[in-house]
């Protein structure tokens, strides 16, 4: 195959962020006129890789070729000049500006100096060509998310993009809008544009893509053309791994005690006001770890926040140790023994400008003996911090180290240690090992199982099947806000769970 057939080739791309290697020696190529699916779980490195092609990030290692020529891009401007444009998951439109203003912005960067009126007529023309209409004088804030996405696509087309990258484009769309988007994409491909379609939804990738590349944990697993794909199982295995089922992190308790948490017909709304958790019911008993498997963004965060008291619920009831606690807040539930390990340690879990000891005693300062009237006993706080450092083997940390100076893994251990260190009866752990190294991961899992064997109930939310299988005694799968199944750890297989995670009930 001659090099002329490729719009973009990436060779050996590596990109690290503090504490995480997001891309490890990835090769990727994009043919002219194809729709190429980039598939993988959250955190697999898809968005990072595309941020590199679009010039937003600079790779640590690796080479990029555009139409056979080696290029070095320093900024999105360089990528735009090469005809590469990206539709970000969080749109890059200014809601307060009109459609035409948003599109005019930066058009001169690619050498098109236009008036607002000329831009408006170009917009209408281009939209018509793709089979939809857009009012260039509408304020972007007044448009639906589907319409905003079209504006994004028009924006990069009018800047002369030949390569169009869409990051999770269907996540914001209603089902009708999705088929509309697919029509637009097919039309663009038939006009010779090359499209990268980033998704974690297998069905969508199979429906529209000519080829599919699967990434997992920052590495490329493989690229398949549509004709090579014989069964969806093959792709599921590539996405979630085919290793043998992992050994248990520790012996999970076999006999369960009294019911600790019961959730009935829970409905919870997301920040955008749509139902994120839909009619969910389950219960967890003493000594039980319920592993809630699911791909990020299927309502897990809303569910965890609702149960921990951090988010209002729309309807349904929550019982804790037989008591109806529906509507109680975080502090009330925390004092009753409910603890919540957030998946967002940076902004929700720890205060980055506080030191380690301060972060440790922050939540329980009424109980843990550091309070002395109006004052805080800092010696005692420091001692508690030191104990946690020793127990959790926090490398290179001191009680007076600022949280922001600690590595991601150390921060996570600190957060987990603080939350499960006390006498919690119910532990809600949302992605407790996300982005931490293997050793820390094993350690955190062991601690969770330890707590369960001491009689705590644990809700373990994770998108990592290894984690679900190594720690749980019951497995539930959440997809688009609904629990698709609750399985027993002993009889469930990875395939069963993986299928449910992508919303397919196996025959």
């Amino acid at each position: 195959m001659s090099e002329k057939e490729y719009a973009v080739q990436m060779v050996g791309i590596t990109k690290s962020f503090p504490g995480v290697v997001a891309n490890k020696k990835i090769d990727f190529d994009l043919k002219k006129g194809e729709i190429h699916g980039l598939l993988g779980e959250n955190g697999a490195g898809k968005t990072t890789l595309m941020n590199i092609i679009s010039g937003f990030y600079r790779p640590d290692e690796g080479e990029i070729y555009v139409e056979g020529k080696r290029v070095k891009m320093r900024s999105p401007k360089d990528a735009l000049k090469l005809g590469i444009g990206m539709v970000y998951q969080h749109f890059t439109l200014v809601p307060e500006f009109k459609v035409a203003e948003n599109i005019l912005l930066g058009m001169d960067v690619v050498g098109r100096k236009l008036s607002l009126k000329a831009t408006a007529s170009l917009i209408e023309e281009q939209a018509k060509q793709l089979g939809f209409t857009v009012n260039p004088w509408s304020k972007v804030a007044d448009l639906s998310l589907g319409e905003q996405q079209r504006v994004e696509i028009l924006k990069i087309l009018l800047r002369g993009a030949k390569v169009i990258i869409l990051d999770e484009p269907t996540s914001v769309l209603a089902p009708v809008e999705i088929s509309g988007l697919f029509n637009v994409l097919k039309q663009l491909a038939s006009q010779g544009k090359s499209i990268v379609f980033i998704t974690h939804k297998l069905n969508e990738a199979l429906e529209i893509c000519d080829r599919i590349t699967v990434l997992r944990t920052g590495m490329k697993i493989g690229t398949l053309s549509r004709s090579e794909i014989t069964s969806t199982l093959e792709i599921v295995r590539m996405m979630f791994g085919v290793e043998a089922e992992p050994a248990l992190a520790a012996e999970v308790p076999k006999t369960l005690g009294k019911e600790v948490l019961k959730v009935e017909n829970l409905v919870v709304q997301s920040d955008r006001g749509v139902d994120a958790v839909k009619d969910v019911s389950f219960s967890i008993r003493e000594g039980e770890i319920l592993g809630l498997a699911g791909i990020d963004g299927n309502g897990q965060k809303e569910l965890a926040e609702a149960i921990s008291g951090a988010r209002k619920i729309k309807s349904g009831r929550i019982y804790y140790k037989g008591e109806d606690v529906t509507g109680l807040g975080l502090a009330d539930l925390h004092s009753r023994g409910v603890t919540y390990i957030t998946d967002d340690r940076i902004s929700e879990g720890l205060i980055q400008d506080f030191n380690l000891a301060e972060n440790v005693v922050l939540k329980d300062f009424r109980k843990n003996g550091v309070r002395r009237g109006l004052f805080i006993d800092w010696k005692k706080a420091s001692k508690i911090g030191q104990e946690l450092i020793e127990e959790y083997e926090l490398a290179a940390a001191k009680p007076n180290s600022l949280a922001q100076t600690l590595s991601g893994g150390t921060q996570q251990k600190l957060l987990v240690g603080r939350e499960i260190g006390g006498d919690a009866s119910l532990i809600i752990a949302n992605q407790p090992t996300h982005g931490v190294d293997a050793k820390t991961t094993a350690y955190i899992r062991k601690k969770l199982v330890e707590r369960a064997s001491k009689g705590s109930a644990v809700l373990l939310i994770s998108n990592d099947l290894d984690e679900i299988f190594s720690c749980s005694n019951t497995i539930a799968v959440i997809y688009e806000g609904k629990i698709l199944g609750i399985l027993d750890r002993q009889s469930a297989t990875r395939e069963d769970v993986a299928y449910l995670m992508i919303g397919v009930k196996k025959a």
């Binding site: 900024s75 999105p76 500006f97 912005l105 930066g106 690619v110």
Partner: protein, 298 residues
């Protein structure tokens, strides 16, 4: 009233661009003070108020550049740096003024570039106000529609406003966020410098400790209650100018002797606060306001 409003109007127009691009420059007070000081020195040394004015402009540009390095490149906290800069300006200018002149005040040269149309200035009441003013008064008013047009009707203005809304949008559109934030800081510095020079050379015709007396901060307040719109800034500046002129008139004419002078002098600031409370409560700040931009965040 126009004469009194001019330094505030100039500084506020510059700050309007700075804030629209997502920067809060509390150092504006310091820039005005430094420029008032250097332009006074320049004018005395060269015996020309015009030379003084140019020195003030240069000072404003230079200080705008220095603050841009701190705000944009070094990503320092804009509030802390701005206040520290303005406070140090008071100490610095007062000290050097003493060192240079002791207690004998130098005489300013004759003012050049004052517009005077005697026939029209003879019109009662409004004549002097409109037709016998330093040219900078006319310049500052002419800048208002120009600044409005550039901000809302040109590509440059669109880019500036995008920086305050969401710098990442600008970045992905291929716009150099840092370059444009430097440009607005230079514009802001230039105009604050012009305002400071006008104050010492034309309005009060002298230099003294803390000459600016919070006019830079008033300019920031006016920008906010004018909702970052140059046309409304003119209104705000005139309101302040009117209050200050009124306070001056009360004192000069000797009315209301029973009211202490200090109360009268507070009037312009009180009116500014009331205006802020009335108009700025529902103000929508640029979302990226006072936040430095970093590209690679994870």
């Amino acid at each position: 009233m126009l004469r009194v409003a001019t330094p505030i109007l100039l500084a506020a127009l510059g700050e309007c661009y700075v804030e629209n691009a997502g920067i809060l420059n509390l150092g504006i007070e310091g820039i005005m003070l430094f420029s008032a000081f250097t332009s006074f020195l320049g004018a005395v040394a060269a015996n020309s108020s015009l030379i003084g004015l140019l020195v003030g402009l240069g000072t404003g540009l230079l200080l705008g550049l220095i603050l841009a390095v701190l705000y944009v490149t070094l990503k320092s906290d804009q509030i802390v740096v701005g206040i520290a800069f303005s406070l140090s300006a008071i100490g610095f200018t007062s000290l050097y003024f003493r060192l240079l002149y002791g207690t004998t005040l130098p005489k300013l040269p004759v003012k050049e570039w004052v517009v005077n149309i005697p026939e029209l200035a003879a019109i009662p009441i409004i004549g002097r106000a409109f037709f016998n003013q330093p040219f900078l008064v006319y310049v500052s008013i002419a800048l208002v529609p120009l600044f409005y047009y550039i901000l809302y009707r040109t590509r440059f203005g669109l880019k500036v406003r995008t920086l305050g809304e969401n710098p990442m949008v600008a970045d992905t559109a291929g716009i150099n966020v840092f370059l444009y934030r430097y440009i607005v800081m230079l514009i802001g510095g230039l105009l604050a410098g012009l305002g400071g020079a006008y104050l010492s050379l034309y309005q009060v015709s002298l230099f003294q400790d803390n000459l600016i007396q919070g006019r830079g901060y008033v300019a920031i307040a006016i920008v906010m209650f004018a909702r970052w719109n140059p046309l409304k800034i003119l209104g705000g500046a005139l309101l302040y100018g009117g209050a200050e002129a009124f306070a001056g008139a009360i004192q000069a004419l000797g009315y209301l002797r029973t009211i202490p002078a200090e109360i009268v002098l507070m009037l312009p600031y009180i009116i500014t606060i009331l205006g802020l409370v009335a108009l700025a409560r529902r103000a929508r700040f640029p979302p990226a306001f006072a936040r430095p931009y970093r590209r690679e965040m994870k």
